[in-house]
Symmetry: C2
Subunit: 367 residues, 2 copies
């Protein structure tokens, strides 16, 4: 069944379920609310596995994704500074789905006031070191004014403070990752303590921290996402083991260079994305595995994708792999970044060959 002539993205549902259960139990044990981020899988069918686990709140990264998932959840957080050009789409969506949007500036709050027609939650995004979006927690007067304006709007409801400490991705190992996590939790709680408002939440939830921490103490809401599939980037951060990675790209072998000890496969940037890691000082675009009937193996030692172009992937191969491989074989690749690979591929296949949906690329610019 892995003889598909084009690359397909395989999904191991047992691994997905295991990853989900492990994280959900840890969140529950800590008494936190789980709002898993769906930008990783972007799939209604995989979303059902979360519902079967009893999860009712989710996070997404775009209006398009919120529209795609809308209607089936208690609430959806759009974890991206609200794009004011999407006001009409928000109001339409709110008719069928309760949504939390996110703001990170007084300007954005001002632009929203009086413009939202139905009840809508609002997170204030806090910048805790990731330096992407979010307001500096020291700008306390502005944050206070934002909270006040939101609370005074007839339809906006202040939900709490949201942080994505994405700088944890630059760390490696438990201690280094948890230093980012602990610092973030501390900043967020210091901020929260300055507001005497009942029920406001602190949200944190990057996959490295969420995987490494034993407890979400001090966190009210957890929004990690990548953990559902994991990938080689997370293996490198030591958030998981390679055996936890739940998606695998199939890669037909088209050319073998025994001199250079390299294998060219049909698996390029349009399939894996161009997400790159450095491993031992070398560019790294994915691990190579062997495909078996109903699973794939562990990463082959001394085998990895060393370069990719639009459709080509070039594997640096071990002597052992070179000895057994031939043209027309299909190898497996564990991606560096599963969210990006899933987005490139646009759907999944389970081991029985069934197609599992993924939010359509085409829907991205639907207006």
């Amino acid at each position: 069944m892995f003889k598909n002539s084009d690359p397909i993205l395989l999904i191991d549902e047992q691994k997905v379920k295991k990853n989900l259960k492990r994280m959900h139990e840890k969140v529950l044990k800590s008494g936190a609310h789980f709002r898993p981020h769906f930008k990783t899988h972007q799939s209604l069918q995989i979303g059902k596995l979360f519902q079967e686990e009893g999860i009712k709140s989710i996070t997404v990264s775009s209006m398009g994704m919120a529209e795609y998932f809308g209607g089936y959840w208690d609430d959806i957080t759009i974890a991206f500074p609200f794009n004011i050009l999407q006001l009409d789409r928000l109001n339409t969506l709110l008719e069928k789905q309760f949504v939390h949007i996110m703001v990170d500036s007084p300007e954005l709050v001002d632009a929203l006031l009086g413009k939202v027609d139905m009840y809508c939650g609002v997170w204030i995004e806090i910048e805790t070191g990731n330096k992407r979006t979010g307001i500096d927690p020291n700008r306390i007067d502005e944050i206070r004014a934002m909270v006040e304006k939101i609370s005074n709007d007839p339809y906006l409801e202040f939900t709490g403070f949201y942080s994505h400490p994405g700088h944890s991705y630059t760390r490696k190992g438990k201690e280094a990752v948890l230093s980012v996590f602990n610092e973030t939790v501390s900043i967020m709680n210091k901020l929260k303590s300055q507001f005497d408002i009942e029920g406001i939440q602190v949200n944190v939830g990057d996959t490295p921290s969420s995987s490494h921490t034993d407890s979400f103490e001090g966190v009210d809401s957890v929004s990690c996402g990548n953990f559902i599939f994991y990938d080689m980037m997370q293996v490198n951060i030591e958030s998981c083991k390679a055996e936890d990675v739940a998606v695998c790209l199939t890669a037909p072998v088209v050319s073998i260079s025994r001199e250079r000890k390299e294998i060219a496969v049909l698996a390029g940037g349009i399939h894996l994305s161009k997400e790159k890691m450095e491993l031992n000082g070398q560019p790294f675009f994915g691990s190579v595995v062997l495909l078996e009937e109903n699973h794939w193996g562990e990463p082959l030692q001394d085998c990895y994708i060393k370069s990719i172009s639009q459709e080509h992937g070039v594997i640096k191969a071990s002597d052992e792999l070179l000895e057994r491989v031939k043209i027309g074989d299909v190898l497996g690749v564990l991606p560096v970044h599963s969210c990006m690979t899933a987005d490139c591929m646009g759907k999944y296949y389970d081991f029985e060959g069934n197609v599992i949906d993924h939010f359509s690329m085409r829907a991205r610019d639907r207006d």
Copy 2:
């Protein structure tokens, strides 16, 4: 019209036509055959512009693309070592479209013999320094045996020797790029001279070489592709000027950090791809331009995308841009790699808001 709330990929058809005419005229003047590579635009409608120019041969990088374009051309070259798992698809395609496939090993030739049911051209891919695929030109006995076997097959026809000297992408400026080009042309012609076969062709055609060279002397067939759009990578190689770049992503402004002098836009890796350049020692993911009614401006000085994640792009912004920009504005981004960006976006918009097709992502694994 550029107030689309999601990013869209704008196309400047005047620039496309100008880029096409310039390259086509140079190829014609040299007496070479033009087989422009369609992996850049992947569009039937843009393909029509080539037909209006009198171009009848094209190049693609996958079977899916050949199927998409099939039926409208004298011949299509699939410039990828033939994926033997796609034999059935090749035979089906040959019923409506003459195709040249590519081989780069004796094993692949052996796997093809007697398996192709209709006339089909075959290029032998030669490795001239790119170290991706292709056979070493010094393996002359094996190449000779491959040519002989191809010629003796009832339906396979030996077309000639194909090279993609992609290592030109690591050079910068006319002299450096042309040293790659000239070396490749010399290797290819030395090889060709050892075969006393009438009409066999030498194909070369990367965009850096094709843009920098004044003549295609010694080249029978030219298969460059990126030149139709160009991008910031080609600007950096000095293959073109920024004003030649013919596609531009629209990027809604969602967050502004005046302290860090940064602007966050909705334009991430799922829109631009994660293709990265280094510019002045810094990571670089695209140039920033202002959008006007029917065009976009030159790249703004000291403004560029410094980092991207799945949906976020972070612009390092000049004081001048910071002064004028506000939330809800839409900026333009000239991509690092237009082929990858077009593939991510899956369609184009002209200045009148008309949609222009792009080969569907979904069709990639159609079997």
